[in-house]
Symmetry: C2
Subunit: 301 residues, 2 copies
């Protein structure tokens, strides 16, 4: 195996790597749970070598990384680039210090917005990838997740963006609050009706989220609310609150939804019920297209 | 020491007991962290005897308890009473099974509301106490806490109530979300200006809570938001969302706020800024007055 370069997606919880041929073909892939949150600064290079050590030859191999690996607590800090700007800039990569001379690693910086204050790391690469996969796309990119992002993209630049703690709130409430006794398992069949009713409820009365959450518990105690329905309702309430706040993003705009998981499908369903049409893009394909776009210029040793 | 009866406030996290004389004087008090959540059904009697064993004589001593001790997972279930009804009814106590013949323990049931589904356990006793301390009170009782309650009281009955997960959300987000890095210590001086601005922001745009939460993190990273200000803002956002949903309760109504903690003061400040005047009642005084009201009839062995 003779890869041309290595693509790295290094987030808070996970590390994923791909060996890419000069043709663009994926020669190999690997992953681990050694995300940024589990590593000290000295731990990044060994964690990476555990996955790609066997792919290295004798000459320095270019590697491009995105995500929290470039945070202040990461391998080395890649300072945010301020919007408005293109999501990625091949001239604005940060070289990571390495002990192994066969590694030539550069990290893509995230984006920052001054007012309202906001930041992203990793999603900028997926947005750049979406622009590679859909050249000329003008509109809104939505990236559901722990910290969901909505970005307005125009003429190849990110013009504004907004982050919501929706996914993190879902995890905290479903696993650690009093509701943990009331919810079904992760893989319960999706209850679309309960989900959409909760989305609509949250959009029309977002201030009631805090009481609706306790209401899920009370309805379980008093009326035997089914755990799978309870989970769908929790998801719908939190996603509905997000859609209410993100309305200026999705209303009357083409929306590209990055992600192929059940979560992205839930967003597509909720947006469709609000009259917004979305197109879906595969998250990994966007990440790899974004990193590939960086390779074009200036990244060879 | 020859107590006439024992008052017990037994919640999810804590157990508090008082030895009361026939005159109503408090002869002794004690407490532990053996709350309902830490005990199996067999563990309640020993946990109670560890605190009050020394207060017992030879004859059975009446004891009255309120709170989660009466939940399905408690000592013995005291079935909810459905509103509208008086907050407490001396004829509706549930006797707890005991091994020690010197214990004659009865548990006050909580209240339930059919639609929207809601429940309370423990607060009903404080509401009854508030009615003892302010005879003829007609209006709204607010009990801030892990699960804040708002109850509309008229002609001595609870007519409707509403629960908000405000306190639990604050604990989860401040201790376990990405914001835990951005917030000051518990005892940071209260930042009233930031708190009130956040209350007002949440009341006018409650749907933005999920993005405002992440904004606290981003403003810390980009603009050095002070940790004490960040904590005040988080508190204000969550309390503001609660006030927005509870507006039909506090608007134009006399509001009795039960609690003397910093949290109750924060609610009083936030409500005053919205033009609502509150009177404050001490939480422990309300609990004891409520339990005392039960003693009047039918509870002697």
């Amino acid at each position: 195996m003779d890869p041309d370069w290595i693509a790295i997606d290094w987030g808070t919880s996970n590390l994923r790597v791909w060996a890419i041929a000069a043709s663009g073909a994926i020669l190999a892939r690997a992953g681990s749970d050694e995300g940024m949150a589990r590593l000290s600064p000295d731990g990044f290079e060994p964690a990476l070598l555990r996955l790609i050590g066997g792919w290295l030859g004798t000459r320095p191999l270019p590697a491009l990384a995105c995500g929290m690996v470039g945070a202040r607590q990461g391998w080395t800090e890649a300072a945010y680039r301020a919007i408005p700007c293109a999501p990625l800039d091949p001239a604005a990569l940060t070289r990571a210090p390495t002990r192994d001379p066969r590694l030539d690693l550069r990290i893509a910086p995230g984006l920052s917005q001054d007012r309202p204050a906001d930041v992203m790391r990793g999603e900028e690469t997926q947005i750049a990838g979406a622009l590679m996969l859909e050249p000329g796309f003008d509109g809104v990119v939505c990236l559901p997740g722990t910290h969901s992002k909505w970005a307005h993209v125009s003429a190849g630049e990110v013009v504004s963006f907004q982050t919501h703690m929706t996914g993190e709130l879902f995890e905290l409430v479903s696993r650690q609050s009093v509701l943990r006794h009331s919810l079904g398992a992760d893989d319960a069949p999706h209850r679309e009706e309960a989900f959409l009713a909760a989305v609509s409820d949250a959009i029309s009365r977002p201030e009631r989220i805090g009481s609706r959450l306790f209401g899920i518990r009370a309805e379980g105690l008093l009326h035997g609310l089914a755990p799978a329905t309870a989970r769908a309702r929790l998801s719908g309430l939190l996603i509905g609150m997000e859609l209410a706040a993100a309305r200026p993003y999705w209303l009357g705009q083409p929306v590209a939804l990055i992600g192929s998981s059940g979560l992205a499908r839930a967003y597509a369903t909720a947006l469709a019920a609000q009259g917004a049409q979305t197109r879906s893009l595969d998250a990994t394909a966007c990440t790899l297209a974004g990193l590939t776009s960086l390779l074009a210029t200036g990244t060879r040793p």
